[in-house]
Amino acid sequence: MVDMRLRVKDLSFKYSTTDVLSGVNLEVDEHEVASIVGPNASGKTTLLRCINKVLKPYMGTVFIDGKAIVKMNIKELAREVSSVPQIALRSFPLTVLDVVLMGRTPYVKWQLTKNDLEIAEESIKSVGIENLTSKYFDELSGGEMQRVLISKAITQEPKVLLLDEPTAHLDVKNQLEILDLIRNLARNKDIAVLMAIHDLNLAARFSDRIYMIKNGSIFASGSPMDVLTSENIREVYGVEVRTIKSEESIHILPIKPIRSFNQT
């Protein structure tokens, strides 16, 4: 059997005594975009943080190309997995180029080589931020910042790219452009992309695979058509929706919350 690019097996995590994730199984192959959807506090961000080793699961394993991440040190992992975090970053004055080049941190000792600079240039072009390189990062708009952070993540030359709410705080056009960019990067650079995302319509349109989480367990997984059904959404979110299937995607229209719905 050929190993999947990213495989999460029986992963469980708890904060002191509260179970956050229990028995999560998940797979993403190269070229693929997979989305984790689920209500607030269902464990989406925690799952991403277990994959990039910010948090330590108490059970289960994460494999990259068949290799368990517990066997990698943090520097080795940084060459395999890169992340675009959700938190709005405040920093001291750094130029966009500084931020993108930071992606080479897991590789350099002191001096950047010509190769490092070529990789950064390639990444800047693939993300389309050529005109921003000399600007200051903290003066950019939300959409520009997100592109720069993606460029930094790509400069890390990852096999797996994790994104936490990549479309938060973006306008409609930027949302579509960013997700389109992410999908193209997955296709062209052989990256496995896993993102946590709230917007079910965007998830439906840009994902190859969807994992729907409820209370820290996978409730349903598969293609958007199979997972984003009105029954599943009612069960997981407690919301009545109407779904409309079109040529390119499935569209979800929220109707109303269900009163008697109990999150647990």
Partner: protein
């Protein structure tokens, strides 16, 4: 959108400018150093200085002034300024807080308490002049461990560190006030120490601070990439392959040592460690590979200029240098802040 970009060229251009900036700073520091050796209650020309050091039959008085007073003092100002600035860069980067300074973890207050203790009990008369230095150093390290101890209960988070530093610092400040209150006139000397000054500088002190400074420079420069990543936040740094917990404790310890040794020798000289990094950030940005050496040079220049001024203003007496650093530094700093153009130079 489709503008061309040549990262290699752009990177080399920017780096070239920054290296040139470092070069200019070095020249300026050299010039100020030479001027500072010449200036004092007695003005000495450069020829006389060279004669005094290397000459065949030097004037013994002149030789003593140059070699035992002026040069140690000038070198002390350069080294102390560099140490404080490096510590300031580390603290600001690690704590991601522009208000952070070498003193943010209460180290200075600890040192002050040690010094006050030595003076109050007259320990210099029993154990020699280094009793004050030793006690100041010991208590600044004690402070550091107390702050870490408190903060590590919550995983060495930035906010906890700053709050613990303020708390422990206040405690030691209160103890210093208590000592001053109960000791009466005897402790008058400590008030001068608290204001900070370089009049005690001699070769022995230089031999203490030099290895610390040298180690500090080598180690911090090697940690430049870690500091860059850490200044973007713990999680970003972790994703870039930095061992955050270890790096943080290691760098904080280093910054504390740099500060503790300096403060123990010179008293609390304020403002340099806060302002030098900011001046450099505004001029060449926050890439630590250049920010660290440039801040060191700027800090050295600031402290040296301030100290030289302090010797001139009410000649032949002198003002505590801490007063000068603030009086000159604050307006300049405010001007830079108001100007607010980050693209000030590069």
């Amino acid at each position: 959108m489709s503008s061309e970009v040549d990262v290699n060229k752009l990177y080399r251009k920017v780096r070239g400018k920054k290296i040139f900036f470092l070069f200019i700073l070095t020249l300026a520091l050299l010039a100020i150093t030479i001027i500072s050796i010449c200036i004092g209650p007695i003005s000495i020309s450069i020829q006389d200085i060279i004669k005094a050091i290397f000459g065949e039959n030097p004037d013994e008085n002149l030789r003593a002034i140059v070699l035992d007073v002026r040069i140690p003092r000038v070198l002390m100002a350069v080294m102390a300024g560099t140490c404080l600035s490096l510590a300031g860069v580390i603290m600001q980067g690690l704590l991601r807080n522009p208000l952070a300074s070498p003193y943010v973890l209460g180290v200075a207050a600890g040192a002050a308490f040690g010094a006050a203790l030595a003076v109050a009990f007259g320990l210099q008369f029993i154990f020699g002049e280094y009793a004050l230095f030793m006690l100041a150093l010991v208590f600044s390290l004690v402070t550091m461990f107390m702050v870490y101890g408190l903060a590590s209960a919550r995983g060495v988070e930035t906010e906890t560190l700053i709050l613990a530093g303020i708390a422990i610092g206040s405690l030691f400040n209160a103890l210093v006030s208590f000592l001053i209150y109960v000791s009466g006139e005897k402790i008058y000397g400590i008030v001068f120490w608290l204001m900070g000054g370089l009049w005690g500088a001699d070769w022995e002190q230089l031999f203490i601070i030099f290895p610390v400074l040298l180690g500090g420079i080598v180690i911090t420069l090697n940690c430049s990439w870690d500091l860059n990543a850490l200044s973007m936040g713990d999680e970003v740094a972790m994703n870039l392959g930095i061992n955050v917990k270890f790096s943080k404790i290691f760098l904080l310890t280093l910054a504390t040592l740099l500060t503790a040794v300096t403060v123990s020798l010179t008293g609390t000289i304020g403002f340099i460690g806060l302002v030098a990094p900011h001046i450099v950030r505004i001029m060449i940005g926050s890439d630590h590979r250049f920010l660290l050496p440039a801040s060191g040079l700027v800090g050295a220049m600031l402290l040296l200029s301030a100290d030289t001024l302090s010797r001139m203003i009410i000649n032949p007496a002198e003002m505590p240098v801490g007063i000068i650093t603030s009086v000159i530094g604050v307006p300049f700093f405010v001007y830079l802040l108001m100007k607010r153009r980050k693209r000030w130079w590069i």
